[in-house]
């Protein structure tokens, strides 16, 4: 699971208000090179929950130099766009947990696939 996907996931346990963003506990991560697509990254800048992305990148130690906020200048700065691309698209959480920010419930990530299924009493 890449951070772009993490940015789109929330905990939906009964009673939880936003369930977002999910915390990350890393057991194993890996990097896979992907072709840089600046247009796509620019499009995503408008949609990403930036703070959640930065926090996740920090948890995976992939985002030390991401700007604090999205600015117009960033969209023309290829160097910055490449760093975003790397953290967003090339870093994979392979084994670990996603943690509901309100209940602490852990959702396991195994072989790169987060399991967001809930138990009967959580629905």
């Amino acid at each position: 699971m890449r951070l772009i996907t993490h940015n789109m996931l929330k905990s939906n346990i009964k009673g939880v208000e936003s369930g977002y963003p999910l915390g990350i506990e890393v057991v194993k991560m890996e990097e896979q090179e992907l072709e840089f697509n600046p247009d796509f990254i620019r499009n995503m800048l408008a949609k990403l929950e930036w703070d959640a992305f930065r926090a996740a990148a920090t948890a995976l130690e992939a985002g030390g130099e991401l700007p604090e906020e999205v600015t117009e200048e960033m969209k023309g700065d290829e160097e910055v766009l490449r760093r975003v691309h790397h953290a967003l698209m090339e870093v994979h959480l392979v084994e670990g947990e996603l943690v509901c920010p309100e209940t602490g419930r852990k959702f396991p990530v195994r072989q790169g696939v987060p399991n967001m299924l809930l138990h009967e009493d959580e629905i």
Partner: protein
């Protein structure tokens, strides 16, 4: 890329009928989208509407990954496949890897507890038609519209009137792009015939700008 080339690429995606009857769950109405239908849907989405290239795409109820992989081939910026069945997701992950499509997968029960907020550009899906669980087709459409402003889906042509009414209730634009034959290969043990044709509508839903 031409439509027939996309379709021929997709022929190598493993489908439910190739996984074997013991791997599929009838209650989930696990019938694979054929390469032919998947190619038609995704090709139309890209070349008539520009909804695939550089977009974030969600394959909702992805099964073995056919629609998401098709989107990847046509240049989607990111593709996520979501399904309740972890076995199907393993097959989908293998398919994506062998087709060299960088796709993420999430195991989630779309019908009961969606875990996706509205963040995608485009949803592609071939949802359960609701023959085992009445109304599940409409639930999938509601979930899809929660995840993205633009949705491509397939439904039994016999439900067209009902869906047009639903779209009006929701205040979204609905277009029937094509009426096609869904050739369902024998997937389950109870299937006596080798395959069976069902008339399906390829539809596009679009939220109106508020």
């Amino acid at each position: 890329m031409k439509l027939k080339h996309l379709e021929s690429h997709l022929q190598s995606v493993t489908t439910y009928s190739e996984l074997g009857a013991e791997k599929v769950n009838i209650e989930l109405e696990q019938y694979s989208t054929s390469a032919h239908l998947a190619a038609r849907m995704v090709y139309t989405a890209e070349f008539e509407f520009g909804d695939i290239e550089d977009r974030s795409v969600l394959d909702l109820g992805c099964g073995t990954g056919m629609l998401g992989i098709a989107a990847g081939i046509l240049g989607a910026g990111a593709v996520v496949g979501l399904d309740v069945d972890s076995g199907a997701l393993s097959a989908a992950a293998e398919n994506a890897e062998s087709m060299e499509i960088g796709m993420d997968f999430v195991c989630c029960d779309v019908a009961r507890n969606p875990c996706i907020p509205e963040r995608f550009d485009t949803v592609l899906m071939n949802p359960p038609f609701g023959t085992r669980r009445a109304g599940i087709d409409v639930v999938f459409l509601e979930r899809a519209l929660e995840a993205a402003p633009t949705v491509y889906s397939m439904h039994k042509t016999s439900t067209r009137k009902h869906l047009l009414k639903k779209a009006e209730e929701w205040g979204v634009d609905i277009t029937v792009l094509a009426q096609l034959r869904f050739d369902i290969p024998a997937t389950y043990k109870f299937h006596k015939r080798r395959s069976m044709d069902v008339e399906v509508d390829l539809i596009r839903l679009q939220k109106r700008l508020s």
